[in-house]
């Protein structure tokens, strides 16, 4: 075991990783251009859906980072002190991710296209959120009037939609950024002031986040199919965001350790992260199944329409792959104690989960926007994923390299974390 660690260690973001992330961004931009310009037509809708998917995914991973550091502070955990810089780097990227989501949502809401409705009439609808943002849906007497949507218009209208997004993403970003900043300041000031501040901010964040994250998920994703609703949808998304966030934290830790950083982290820290990933994958399945089961059992047409479309031949295959990747894979790969202590096993489980939750979001978004006929898996899906992966890598590792040290060296529980042993 290495016993001499330099707590002055800073991450240097250079070399292959930086080149690859920039190349990935270029690939992403090309894929978006391909979808919008060269393909056109139906593919514009598909590109928008992919952009929404990835920007939501990006925001959720970063929120996962804020959530993780917040509950570590609130529970006054000692074990995690030495790895807090990684979730804090995710927290610092949240403002950028939020901005990207806002841009995508705005473009999708205000760019319209003509579609032919079921009754043969042509109408102009926005690319995203057409179910509630199309013109005339809530105007009494309009030929598009829809009583169900009109009843929901207090929540699903452009002003309240933007108010929700800006207030929630703004406060999550602000709190996440402040937690990371206080922790970084702690390195130089060194007293308990910053820790206490972070404790308070974390409590505020958790209360706010717990009550409002479901609203965020309802607004951004569930409203794509605005006639349908599920009160479990918010928790389902929260579970997904948390699993992805922790899987990403573990993956980044495995990577930076391979590059020779964070030598103070032992296999015990990975073991604890593995337990959280395992447990919350089960929780994700629990909520996923709860939502499915109640809908299936009650069998009310307006509710089961949601799963009916996901049971079309184009999606049915993905439906089963989704459960396999997000439930069976972590269940079998991480069940035993020894498995969580194997770096390679942890790495592959995290990769499976990161891909799996992409698919989870794919199944939440695509049936409601492009539908079974327009959905596919090709240049747009892969290209946009690669582009966002590059952006994520670039931003997160840039933020990681900005910390004065890769370890919160004046954290009051640091000694406990350095000697963490389970």
């Amino acid at each position: 075991m290495k016993t001499h660690n330099s707590f002055e260690e800073r991450f240097e973001f250079t070399g292959k990783l930086k080149t690859f992330s920039l190349v990935a961004i270029v690939i992403g931009v090309l894929a978006i251009a391909f979808g919008f310009v060269f393909e056109g037509g139906e593919h514009i809708q598909r590109t928008y859906s992919n952009l929404l998917l990835m920007s939501y995914y990006f925001v959720c991973i970063c929120i996962g980072g804020v959530f993780f550091s917040a509950y570590q502070y609130v529970s006054q955990s000692g074990w995690s002190a030495a790895l807090l810089r990684v979730p804090q780097a995710l927290a610092k990227v949240l403002p950028f991710a939020s901005l990207i989501l806002l841009i995508v949502v705005t473009a999708g809401l205000f760019q319209t296209h003509e579609i032919v409705g079921e009754d043969g009439k042509k109408e102009l609808v926005p690319y995203l959120y057409a179910h509630w943002a199309a013109h005339g849906l809530t105007i009494m007497g309009s030929e598009n009037y829809d009583a169900i949507i009109a009843g929901k218009s207090a929540f699903l209208s452009i002003p309240s939609f933007y108010a929700l997004l800006i207030v929630l993403l703004g406060s999550y970003s602000f709190l996440g950024w402040s937690i990371a900043k206080n922790s970084n300041d702690e390195d130089t000031t060194g007293n308990m002031v910053n820790y206490k501040k972070n404790f308070k901010l974390s409590v505020i964040f958790l209360v706010l986040f717990g009550f409002t994250f479901p609203l965020f998920a309802f607004g951004v994703i569930m409203s794509l199919e605005a006639h349908w609703f599920s009160t479990m949808f918010g928790w389902y998304n929260l579970a997904a965001a948390h699993v992805m966030g922790v899987a990403m934290i573990a993956l980044i830790i495995i990577y930076v350790r391979k590059k020779g950083y964070m030598g103070w982290l032992a296999v015990d820290h990975l073991h604890d992260l593995g337990k959280i990933i395992f447990g919350f994958s089960i929780f994700w399945t629990y909520v996923w199944f709860g939502q499915f089961f109640l809908t299936w059992y009650a069998n009310i047409p307006e509710e089961s329409a949601y799963f009916y479309i996901r049971w079309e031949p184009e999606f049915k295959w993905w439906f089963w792959v989704n459960i396999t990747l997000n439930f069976l894979a972590p269940l079998l790969m991480l069940m035993s104690r020894d498995a969580k202590r194997l770096e390679v096993r942890m790495k592959w489980t995290c990769i499976v989960l990161i891909v799996g939750h992409w698919l989870d979001y794919y199944l939440m978004i695509m049936p409601g926007t492009v539908g079974p006929k327009g959905a596919g898996f090709g240049v747009e899906e892969i290209g946009v994923f690669v582009g966002f992966a590059g952006t994520f890598t670039y931003l997160v590792f840039t933020q990681l390299s900005k910390f004065t040290s890769l370890i919160p060296k004046k954290h009051p529980f640091l000694e406990e974390s350095l000697h963490h042993h389970i």
Binding site: F293, Y297, N299, R337
Partner: protein, 178 residues
């Protein structure tokens, strides 16, 4: 030949006790067991205690529970007495999931408890056997078998050197609450 069966080193400080273990191990004196009122960090590694296999028992009991309830409701609701509930097919697997889940957990929990009791000889109604009563209160106890070839004097001295507050030469293995 003395009738001493076990030599117990009683410590009032866990660090001293760890020192005592070191002293004995350096002299290749096998330690029978160590009894402490609270968990001591890192003692398993020092003593070479193997990882618990309780997890494997838990997995087997979980599989058993899942299989039992699944076959049971299959027999009841599909084979023996199919009922029409809301027009659903009799063999509707989503229906079976909550039961299977609950029974898997139930069998795992009970199975683990029973396995643990069996492995540690603890049963309700059975007086627990302890080598020194104060090991459950405020003493950290190292037990060494007196049947080895090491002179008892040497063991006593090694324990005393490490800071044992008392060294007992017991002729009986257990003192019981009885």
């Amino acid at each position: 030949m003395s009738n001493t069966k076990f030599i117990l080193g009683l410590f009032d400080d866990p660090d001293d006790m760890m020192q005592g273990i070191d002293n004995l191990q350096k002299n290749s004196i096998p330690i029978y067991d160590v009894y402490t009122p609270m968990p001591i960090h890192g003692i398993e590694a020092k003593m070479g205690v193997k990882d618990s296999r309780l997890g494997y028992a838990a997995f087997c009991f979980g599989c058993l529970g899942g299989t039992v309830i699944f076959s049971m409701i299959y027999y009841m609701l599909v084979h023996d007495w199919p009922m029409n509930v809301g027009g659903k097919p009799s063999f509707a697997i989503p229906n079976f999931v909550p039961f299977t889940f609950e029974w898997t957990i139930l069998f795992t929990a009970f199975g683990m408890t029973i396995t643990f009791f069996a492995a540690t000889h603890l049963f309700p109604g059975r007086a627990p056997r302890v080598m020194d009563l104060r090991a459950t209160d405020d003493r950290f106890v190292i037990a060494v078998s007196a049947k080895g070839n090491v002179p008892h004097e040497d063991i006593t001295n090694l324990l005393k050197q490490a800071g044992a507050v008392e060294v007992k030469h017991n002729e009986r293995k257990y003192v019981s609450y009885e």
